[in-house]
């Protein structure tokens, strides 16, 4: 595992997208009562970059954000922001924005006073006229005009989200940390806010570090995705990189886009419930796992003959997802296999419930993990 880690870390730091690094954290670890929330994490982000930090709950992603913000002090490691070591700097001297999952608006202040709060009470004195002008511009930009004098308890969830964002962005930070900012919104609003977040960021030219537990959100929003598991970064790359080449079974699992099969990898051949398949390009991992994307599985009648992998499975049900249909099959040992059919590729096949089908795929499109791989 140790060797794998080093390997991954170099992937992370090597993958700079645009310009110079705006911040870097270096070998940061943090434990709570013996439990390691962060385990020597190293991460960089460039100027004007959108980084998604994906991980299940308990993976340490929020802790990482809090360390960068200055709400927590790391046990070891350094935090560097704009070329300056800020590890020991208190939060209010960092100039890093933070958007909370619960928004954390000041409930006793109006929308406008919330937005103006940092400028009015911060260390740098801002002339009243400028405060007014910047506030108004920001309120207009996030689309809250007309609500300036409302109390923040008098506006909807989506509007609160905008206030939280405006309050942070009006301070013109170079880096904004977002802790599951869409988590408190309903599904409909979440989709809309996703686009707005991206648009606002592009207009402001600021680096976003967005923590999320949702793989859809991470894939949709980030210029770059960093996957965190049990306090370690296990993969970093563009959404496309991560999506098409998850570096470990864990990443494949988080992405929620792959059917994963246990089996054994010996001498470049993977033996699983679907037979034995040649797998020359296996990825090194602590266990032998075979992964195939939901939308790469083909469904054939049971009578069909196939040369590659073949898996007998019973059709259970399907779920309509708008742009695609998800079909659920069950193998004889009770494992559920998901098959996604994109509607852009034509009308979906109609399968008969409780009838057996043959599932197959092009082995070239599978991702194979194994202990013997190099």
């Amino acid at each position: 595992m140790g060797a794998g880690c080093k390997n991954l870390r170099s992937t992370v730091t090597g993958r700079m997208t645009t310009g110079a690094a705006i911040f870097r954290i270096d070998g940061v670890s943090k434990s709570y009562g013996g439990v390691k929330a962060l385990d020597s994490v190293t991460l960089e982000a460039g100027v004007n970059e959108y980084v998604s930090l994906l991980g299940p709950s308990g993976s340490g992603k929020t802790t990482l954000l809090r360390v960068i913000a200055g709400f927590e002090v790391p046990d070891v490691g350094r935090v560097v922001f704009q070329g300056r070591d800020i590890t020991g700097l208190p939060a209010h001297e960092r100039g890093i924005g933070f958007v909370f999952q619960n928004f954390a608006l000041f409930p006793h202040l109006t929308v406008k006073k919330n937005v103006a709060f940092g400028m009015m009470n911060g260390g740098v004195a801002v002339p009243a006229a400028e405060i007014d002008q910047r506030c108004q511009a920001m309120i207009d930009m996030v689309g809250l005009s007309g609500l300036e004098d409302r109390g923040v308890e008098q506006i909807s969830g989506g509007q609160r989200q905008r206030v939280a964002l405006a309050r942070t962005l009006v301070m013109q930070p170079k880096l904004v940390l977002l802790d599951e900012p869409l988590g408190a919104l309903d599904a409909n609003l979440r989709g809309r806010m996703r686009n707005e977040l991206r648009a606002i960021r592009e207009r402001m030219g600021v680096t976003f570090l967005h923590v999320t537990g949702s793989e859809t959100e991470a894939l949709a929003m980030g210029d770059r995705i960093v996957v965190l598991d049990r306090g370690r970064i296990i993969q970093a790359g563009t959404p496309d990189d991560v999506y098409s080449a998850p570096s470990s079974p864990a990443v494949a699992h988080f992405l929620n886009r792959f059917n994963l099969f246990d089996g054994t990898l010996t001498a470049g051949k993977f033996t699983g419930p679907f037979g034995t398949v040649a797998s020359p390009h296996a990825v090194r991992a602590p266990q032998d796992v075979y992964a195939i994307r939901y939308d790469r599985v083909n469904v054939l009648p049971l009578t069909a003959t196939v040369s590659g992998p073949a898996l007998k499975a019973t059709y259970i049900a399907s779920e309509y997802l708008g742009s695609s249909v998800m079909n659920f099959f069950e193998t004889s040992d009770g494992k559920v296999v998901e098959v996604e059919h994109h509607l852009s590729l034509g009308a979906p096949e109609i399968y008969v419930a409780r009838q057996d089908y043959l599932l197959t795929w092009n082995p070239e499109q599978a991702i194979v993990f194994g202990r013997e791989a190099t």
Partner: protein, 289 residues
């Protein structure tokens, strides 16, 4: 700057916030109590006191019927008042905490119980005089009802009047905590027991009472601490006939017998410590609250 110094800098915040409180309590509570222990070993002459260590005051305390009597009176009255506040308070708490279904009503009832505390403590004590006296309200009512033919004289300026007064003043401290614990009992448990055919008596002794026990202990600690430290009620309602350790302390200080007052103070502290420790043995409060 190393990481360790950063962490230390952070931890200084709470230290500065808590320090004034610690200093205040140490100077004006811990040191004074230590002073009582210290001065109890000083040498007392008629009008003077000197720090020469001696056991004289201690010997005098244990040799005197008055002082030993005060100790026993204190313990006796404490036990009686404790039992009385419990006996009188528990049914009220049972009603307020368990039988009243509406949260609002039970809050209102509790507030009604607390309202008398808005009258000054000493006035509340004094108010018992026209109640209990020979020409007091209780005697008048009993005479009118022909229950008695002559006024009862033992009502006022006796140990009984002290007990009645203290019970009334302190029983609310029993009602509150018990009602709070009873209010936290999951009604479904009681319903389930009833469905299984358990009668109220059985439910009460097997479920309700054990679950309310932490409240009883908290109430008992409140009442004990206050009754043991009393002297005003006993002074005002017994006509100086009932002397508690508290009264001894007041009298001794009044006549500048600091050493003897201190001995009584130490004994009071010891009694109180034992009582509280005993109660905390019954129920582990940290676990319950």
């Amino acid at each position: 700057m190393t990481d360790a110094t950063v962490a230390r800098k952070r931890r200084l915040g709470p230290t500065w916030l808590i320090l004034p409180g610690i200093v205040w309590m140490a100077l004006f509570m811990i040191v004074p109590i230590a002073m009582i222990v210290y001065v109890s070993f000083w040498t007392q002459t008629t009008f003077n006191i000197s720090p020469t260590p001696t056991l004289a005051s201690w010997k005098q305390f244990f040799a005197s019927d008055t002082y030993i009597g005060a100790l026993w009176t204190t313990i006796r009255i404490w036990l009686i008042v404790l039992a009385a506040t419990f006996a009188i308070g528990y049914p009220t708490a049972l009603f307020v905490g368990l039988f009243v279904k509406s949260k609002t009503l039970s809050t209102v009832l509790l507030v009604i119980c607390v309202i008398p505390f808005w009258t000054s403590f000493l006035i509340r004590v004094l108010a018992w005089r026209p109640m209990l006296g020979k020409e007091g309200v209780i005697n008048i009512i009993l005479l009118k009802l022909n229950v008695i033919s002559h006024p009862i004289e033992v009502l006022l300026f006796t140990e009984l009047s002290v007990i009645i007064g203290m019970t009334q003043i302190y029983c609310v401290f029993m009602v509150g905590p018990i009602a709070f614990m009873l209010g936290r009992i999951d009604r479904n448990i009681i319903e389930a027991a009833r469905d299984l055919g358990a009668g109220f008596g059985r439910i009460f002794w097997k479920i309700i009472f054990p679950l309310s026990l932490p409240g009883v202990v908290v109430g008992a600690i409140f009442v004990s601490v206050m009754v043991l430290g009393e002297f005003a009620t006993s002074g005002a309602l017994s006509g100086r006939k009932v002397n508690l350790l508290g009264n001894i302390i007041v009298t001794q200080v009044g006549s500048l017998k600091w050493a003897m007052a201190s001995v009584s103070g130490v004994i009071l502290t010891v009694v109180m410590g034992m009582v509280i420790a005993a109660f905390l043995r019954i129920v582990d409060l940290k676990q319950e609250l």
